[in-house]
């Protein structure tokens, strides 16, 4: 609740305004009084551990990045390492094995995240599939309609903060594509469409639902495009969105 001693009258507009402002402020406080945090402390600690690990890995990644730039410059300049690079064998640099492992994890840079589930419809003349917000949520139905429309897709549902299963290994060379042209927002801003004809050959649309355990509807939907079939191992939205 608001602390009257600290909220001096000079914050408000005059004596009468002050009283009315205090009342409005009190109402706001009361309105939010029932809101309490749903996330657990364990989730915070888990994320903190991940952040610490990432901070610890940053210097190594910087060295790898510098190595990649240097090897690229050597290739472009036709230097001593150029023949090696031209044959497709990367010059040996410290930590290169780790670099290849990291590169195998795709990043959906053009990920779209929405705060609703959706309803879907297909335009029979253009083949464009349009989704509109709704509380109803059925990933199976979405998958069926997208597949029928000729859109190769991978639908996933997961709880926020839950890491990918260890057994899930993304295929080598999997990477994200630009969704521009494939995913089109409507001028009204309340729906968007998938255009199968704009999808590059072999590409896969990835739709990921974030849904808390026990929740009746998802808290978010992410849409991205991959160059190949992720075999159910598309990167999880939660880990990608972490800044």
């Amino acid at each position: 609740m608001i602390d009257n001693d600290r909220h001096e009258a000079d914050d408000m507009n005059g004596p009468s305004g002050s009283s009315a402002d205090m009342q409005t402020a009190g109402l706001l406080s009361s309105a939010f009084a029932g809101v309490s945090a749903g996330h657990s402390a364990e989730r915070v600690y888990s994320r903190a551990r991940a952040l610490r690990r990432r901070h610890a890995a940053l210097p190594a990644l910087a060295v790898l990045g510098a190595g990649a730039v240097l090897s690229g410059m050597a290739f472009a300049g036709g230097g001593a390492t150029a023949p090696t690079a031209a044959t497709g064998v990367a010059p040996k640099i410290p930590g290169s094995q780790r670099a290849r492992t990291a590169a195998a994890v795709p990043l959906l840079e053009d990920l779209h995240v929405q705060d609703a589930a959706f309803d879907i419809s297909t335009d029979t003349t253009t083949g464009v599939v349009t989704v509109t917000p709704k509380q109803a949520f059925n990933p199976g139905e979405l998958q069926q309609i997208l597949t029928a429309a000729g859109i190769r897709n991978d639908i996933q549902v997961f709880a926020p903060g839950v890491p990918s299963p260890a057994s899930c290994t993304a295929p080598a060379g999997l990477h994200s594509l630009n969704v521009a042209g494939v995913v089109v927002s409507s001028p009204r801003g309340s729906e968007f469409s998938f255009d199968p004809s704009a999808m590059p050959p072999g590409s896969y649309l990835v739709v990921e639902f974030i849904q808390a355990p026990g929740a009746s509807s998802p808290m978010g939907v992410g849409v991205g495009l991959l160059n190949a079939d992720p075999h159910g191992c598309a990167p999880q939205l939660a880990s990608i969105l972490q800044p």
Binding site: E8, G34, Q114, Q135, S185
Partner: protein
């Protein structure tokens, strides 16, 4: 038994987390207008506070640091997603919100300019004083007072005295439901 510095830090942070998490969530909720986003942002900000706890604990208002970090993260996420469509139209978030504030209060808050919402969040819901709010937002205390005054006037105009009693009833009802749980 003497505790190590790390153990002490963890206990200290846990205590802060228990004390501040609801207040921070309410402030972020008020500033963003979306419960789920607020939950995600607050959890992320607390995780960052945990990582930098030795620095954050020396902050004059650690809860303000958490809220500021959450709001900065929100901007960062928004920048990543700004080419997306907004799907709030036709979607009722109350269905998945265990104790939603009165929708009229949320709508009135959403109608405020972002900076005014932030001032309301920090001054009223996080109960910070004018000086601390100003420092957190990087503005002068006079600017905070002006924003707060305008925000409250706009909220009063939106909600009106006759609606206020209904909102108070809603809040009371929500409190009772919380107590019953």
């Amino acid at each position: 038994v003497r505790k190590s510095g790390v153990d002490h830090d963890i206990e200290d942070f846990a205590e802060f987390y228990d004390r501040a998490r609801d207040g921070c969530l309410r402030a972020v909720y008020a500033a963003t207008g979306d419960r789920h986003t607020a939950e995600e942002l607050t959890a992320e900000a607390f995780a960052r506070a945990c990582v930098s706890w030795r620095k954050v604990r020396r902050h004059p208002a650690p809860a303000a640091w958490v809220v500021r970090t959450a709001l900065n993260t929100h901007i960062s996420w928004w920048r990543k997603r700004r080419r997306e469509v907004t799907w709030t139209e036709g979607f009722d978030p109350a269905g998945s919100d265990p104790a939603p504030p009165d929708p009229r209060v949320l709508a009135a808050l959403k109608a405020l300019p972002p900076r005014q919402r932030e001032v309301v969040a920090l001054r009223i819901l996080l109960d910070l004083d004018t000086e601390t709010t100003a420092r957190e937002l990087g503005v002068s205390p006079g600017t905070v007072k002006t924003h707060l005054s305008r925000a409250l006037a706009a909220l009063r105009a939106q909600l009106g005295p006759e609606r206020n009693s209904t909102i108070a009833d809603h809040a009371r009802h929500t409190d009772e439901k919380e107590l019953a749980r």
